[in-house]
Amino acid sequence: MLRPYLFLHAAPLPFFTSCAPTVFGLLLLPVIEAIGRRSISAIEALGRFGHFLMDMVRGLRDVGIWARLVVVQMRRIGVDSLPVALFIAAFTGVVLALQASYTFTGAVPLYFVGTLVGKTMMLELGPVLTGLALAGRVGASMAAELGTMKVTEQVDALETLAYDPQSYLVVPRVLASTVMFPVIVAFAIAVGIVTGWLTSLALLDLSTSDFIKGLKLFYVFKDVWFGLLKSASFGLTIALVGCIVGLGTRGGAEGVGRSTTRTVVFSAILILVLDAFWAVILL
C-alpha cells in the first residue's frame, strides 16, 4: 500500500530537503496520519448520524407501534424528572434574587431584582440548568437502557419479531423528550421565579408589588417562547444522543458504561453550543 510519507520524503521544498527526511517522517507524519484518521471517522460518524435520522423519520410511519409507547416515555421523562428540575430551579431562584440585590448595591432600584430573576430564569438558567441536569438523568438512562438491550441482543430480538427498533425504541423517546422538556422547563421557570420572589420578601425587604413591577418591566412574550423553544431543542438533542450512542454500544458492561458517559458529555457540550446558537439566531 502507498503511504503518504513516501511522497512527502520526496518533497522538493528546500526546508524538507535541508532536514533529514526521517525526522520529518518520524515526527510529523504520524500526526498528519492521526489527523487524517480522525477526519475520516468524523465524516463516517456524520454519515451514520444522517442515516440514523433518515431511519428515524421512516420509523415515524409506524404510528401504531410508537403512539402507545410515547405516553409511557412521557411519564418516565417528564413526570419522573420533575423533582430534580424543580429542586434545581428553586435554589437557582433564591441565589439569583440574592446576587441581584448584592450586585445592585443601592445604585439600581431594588425592584430590578424581579426583572433579573424573571429574565434570567426564562431566557437562560431555566432551560440550560434543567437541560444539563436532565442530560445526566434522561440521556444517561436512555444510553444505559438501549446499550444493555444492544449488547444482550434484545435489539436484534426486537427486529426478528418484525419490529423496527427505530419505531419501537427511538421515536417514542425522541418525541416524548422533545415534548416534555418545555413542560418541565416551564415548571422550573415558574418555581425559580416564585422562590426568587419569596427570597425577596423574606430577606431583601422587597414588597410583592415591587417584585411584580420589576418582573413586568422588560417582559416580552418572546422571553417565554424563546426559553421553551430552546428547551425543546435540548430535549430533542439529549434523546437523539442517548439513542444513537446507546444503540451503537459494543462490548458488554464496559461498553454500556462508556456509552453512558459519552452521552452525558456529548449532550452537555451540544446543549451549550445550541444555547449560543439560539442566542445568535433569535436575540
Binding site: 441482543e153 434484545q154 436484534d156 430480538a157 426478528t160 419479531l161 418484525a162 419490529y163
Partner: protein
C-alpha cells in the same frame, strides 16, 4: 426453502464467511456445526437480515434477504422464529409480555394471543410462569421461554443459535427434546447452530460443518458419523489433534 448462495462476510478486515453455500429444504432440520468463531451465528443472522452480506445472499422463499426493502424484510421476518444464544428476553417485561410482543405485531386479538401464550408455554413445560420476570428464571428456563417466544408465532422457519450452550447435560437433553417436539408438532423447517455434537445427532436431519468460512461437508447424521474427512472427524470426536 432457505438457501445460502456463495455468502461472504468480513468484520474489520477479518474474513468470516468465504463463499458459504447451503440449502435447507422445507420440513427438515439442518444443524450447522463448527469451531467457535467460524461464523455460524453470523450465517444465521443473515437469514433474518440482521447482518448484510458483503457478497452473495441468503434466499428465503425465493427472496434475496440482503436486497429487501424495510417492509418486505418485515414480511419475511414474520415467517421466522429466532432463538437467541442467551435467549435475549426483554428484561423489563414478564414472560407473557415477551411472548405477546411478536404476536401483537402480527395483528392477533387478545384472546388469540392468550391462547397462543398458554399453548407455547405448555409445549416448553413452563405453564404458570407467565407472570414471572426473566431475571427470576434459571438459564435453562430462559432458553425455553426463548423457544416458546419463537414457536408461539407459528413460524415456517425456526433458527436456533447455540440452544444448549452453557447448560448442564440434563437441561441440554430437555432442550433437544423440545426442538424435536417442535418440529414434530409444528412441522417447521429448522436451522440449528451448535458445537454440541450430542445435540446435533439428536435434532438434525442433516449436519453441515462450517470450516474456514465455507461448508466443509454436509450429509445425514449417519454420513457425518462415518465421515473420513480428517477435519470433520477431529471435530465430531472432539480430539485435540
Amino acid at each position: 426453502m432457505i438457501e445460502f448462495q456463495n455468502l461472504y462476510k468480513a468484520f474489520d478486515g477479518k474474513n468470516v464467511l468465504q463463499g458459504l453455500s447451503l440449502k435447507v429444504r422445507d420440513g427438515e432440520t439442518v444443524v450447522v456445526i463448527g469451531y467457535s468463531g467460524t461464523g455460524k451465528s453470523v450465517a444465521l443472522k443473515h437469514i433474518v437480515g440482521l447482518l448484510h452480506p458483503d457478497a452473495g445472499d441468503v434466499i428465503v422463499d425465493g427472496q434475496a434477504v440482503g436486497t429487501l426493502e424495510r417492509d418486505a424484510l418485515t414480511r419475511v421476518r414474520q415467517g421466522i422464529g429466532y432463538v437467541f444464544q442467551f435467549a435475549a428476553l426483554f428484561d423489563s417485561m414478564t414472560v407473557s409480555e415477551n411472548l405477546a410482543l411478536g404476536l401483537r405485531r402480527r395483528g392477533l386479538g387478545d384472546d388469540e394471543i392468550e391462547d397462543r401464550i398458554r399453548e407455547a408455554l405448555a409445549l416448553v413445560d413452563l405453564s404458570g410462569t407467565g407472570d414471572s420476570m426473566p431475571a427470576e428464571l434459571s438459564g435453562g428456563m430462559r432458553k425455553r421461554v426463548g423457544i416458546a417466544r419463537a414457536i408461539a408465532l407459528r413460524p415456517r422457519y425456526i433458527l436456533y443459535d447455540e440452544p444448549t450452550t452453557g447448560l448442564d447435560p440434563v437441561t441440554s437433553a430437555v432442550i433437544d427434546r423440545l426442538m424435536v417436539r417442535t418440529r414434530e408438532h409444528l412441522g417447521v423447517t429448522g436451522v440449528v447452530v451448535t458445537h454440541d455434537m450430542r445435540s446435533a445427532y439428536t435434532v438434525g436431519d442433516r449436519i453441515a460443518m462450517l470450516y474456514e468460512g465455507r461448508i466443509r461437508q454436509v450429509g445425514s447424521v449417519a454420513e457425518i458419523q462415518e465421515t473420513e474427512d480428517p477435519v470433520v472427524r477431529q471435530f465430531i470426536e472432539g480430539r485435540a489433534e
